[in-house]
């Protein structure tokens, strides 16, 4: 089963939950870092050899000798990525979504596609964990294509954990789409509650099964728990606030190795997820 770990608000503990949960799996596991703007999983896992692959998107290139300025391309393009200012078409690569439309409608066959780099995918291995990370190049706006490329490397035969970016917009949707289950990590503060409600709206609109992990319990109040009860949302785990967890995190150390109570919490979470996976499989069969 693919399990995605997301949150509306940033910094609530997605990466901490993902990396420590991965550590407790015994069988082979794929761990995907879909927070391609700020990937962090590698900071917590000692990895050996890293295999890097350049990821590109196709961008149109106009042959000025063939283009007759008919504007079929600019009429079709919804993103103003190709315009015909004078006699020939001009491309704005940073606006382009790589749909391929301009190339297909060009009656002169004057448009070809050229691959343009947007980032890299890093693959490495630590024990039974296969880590696959996307890393977007600085200055690149089109993040979802790189996330899709990371997710294309999923092996459906394995257990898969996905660390999603924060928020609720297209990079998050691209990351969690198709997951069998989503864990939403939050904290018991007004910001945590507000952004959790947005994330819940998002996963519900996508029709995904989900539950909530409340991190740093004790720093705020009970409003997140009350919200979950009211909305009939499963609270998978509550993690007590503990400065030792924050300090381990700051050093890039696995919290489950530094704080025994935290390891216990994460193994409870893992058991709950395993039960859910069995339930899901049963649901699919019936």
């Amino acid at each position: 089963m693919i399990i995605a770990i997301a949150s509306g608000k940033g910094g609530t503990g997605k990466t901490t939950v993902a990396v420590n949960l991965a550590q407790l799996y015994t069988g082979p596991l794929q761990l995907l870092d879909c927070d391609v703007e700020e990937p962090n999983l590698h900071l917590f896992l000692p990895t050996g050899e890293v295999d890097e692959e350049i990821i590109t998107v196709p961008i149109p290139v106009v042959d000025e000798n063939l283009c007759d300025g008919c504007r079929a391309c600019s009429d079709l393009c919804e993103f103003n990525a190709i315009i015909v200012p004078k006699k020939v078409a001009l491309v704005f690569p940073e606006m382009c979504h790589s749909c391929g439309g301009c190339m297909m409608v060009c009656p002169q066959k004057a448009i070809k596609e050229k691959e343009q780099r947007i980032g890299i995918i890093r693959r490495s291995r630590t024990g039974s964990i296969q880590l696959i990370q996307g890393l977007i190049d600085v200055g690149v706006t089109s993040v979802p294509p790189l996330i899709r490329a990371v997710k294309k490397r999923v092996d459906p035969a394995l257990s898969v954990l996905i660390d999603a970016p924060p928020g609720t917009s297209c990079p998050v949707v691209t990351s969690v789409r198709g997951a069998g289950y989503v864990i939403l990590v939050t904290e018991p503060t007004p910001f945590g509650l507000h952004d959790l409600a947005l994330a819940v709206e998002m996963v519900r609109s996508l029709g995904l099964a989900f539950g909530v992990v409340i991190n740093r319990v004790g720093i705020g109040d009970e409003r997140v728990q009350e919200y979950c009860r009211r909305e009939k949302i499963d609270i998978l785990l509550e993690i007590a606030d503990d400065r030792r967890i924050a300090e381990a995190y700051s050093r890039g150390q696995l919290a489950c190795e530094a704080v025994p109570e935290f390891r216990q919490s994460i193994s409870v979470l893992k058991e709950r997820l395993e039960k859910l996976a069995v339930l899901h499989a049963a649901g699919r069969r019936s």
Binding site: G8, K9, G10, G11, T12, T15, D35, E37, E38, N40, L43, F44, L76, E78, F79, H97, S98, C99, G100, G101, M104, V105, I136, V138, G139, V140, T141, S142, V143, R148, P165, P166, G167, T168, S169, C170, P171, V172, V173, T174, R177, T189, P190, F191, H194, D195, L198, E201, M202, S205, L206, I219, G220, R243, A246, E247, Y249, S250, R251, G252
Partner: protein, 290 residues
Amino acid sequence: MIRELVIISGKGGTGKTSLTASLAVLAGRVIMADCDVDAADLHLLFPPRNREKQPFYSGHEAIIRPADCIGCGLCLAYCRFDAVQMRGGATGHALFTIDPAACEGCGLCVHFCPTGAIDFPERLCGEWMISDTRIGPMVHARLGVAAENSGKLVSLVRKQARELAEKEGIGLIITDGPPGIGCPVIASVTGASQVLAVTEPTLSGEHDLGRVLGLARHFDLPAAVCVNKWDLNPEMTERIESKARLSGAQIVGRIRYDSGVTRAMMQEKSIVETDTPAADDIRAVWEQLK
């Protein structure tokens, strides 16, 4: 000229919004702009009274009319966003639908559909608001659930904030930026007067700050850096500050780890409106910035 200070972080949850709120209080006459449009939180500290509320339409969305679909599958063949899904239809031929969460609105399927069975209405992507708060005006927005085009909504919020600043003769805009370094962040910082990157003394904070300062250099923006919760790991704070200096950023101060920060949030106040040690640190940061 209107000065625009944008608070960003790379990594989420380092204290952008809490710091933005406090700096706005210290600044006095200021326009606040909340550019974290898919998880906007500034309004939770400054309850807004809406002056103006507008829908945000952006792009289009392809929708197949099942009655007119002949099941040829051209749309599936052309779509590069895995947005077209195939199901068996009741009449025997395949039935195609479009997943709105995956559709990027390129319109290729609409153009090529042989029976013209695909509608292409404008997409409602959210709303934006101009509000009054207890400390001054705020421009903010709400991106629709699972919606696209956050960058365009960010640009719209900034444009409205600039117009409002001109109209009201206010010389400073303080902007709460989104996390990351992608499209909405780029839309938040391009053309700004200065960015303030707030980070935390963790390996992730260090890593993500490096990327966000890279972005500031890429767009040739003056950058300032502030380490929040610095005493959680003093050695890491030193390391982050010296790296930031090397990359040309100005260090504008440190904020200590203080449970009063969360207490202020629970009371729906900015930190500097409460009496807690971190408030002094933030006042010192503002002295460097103003």
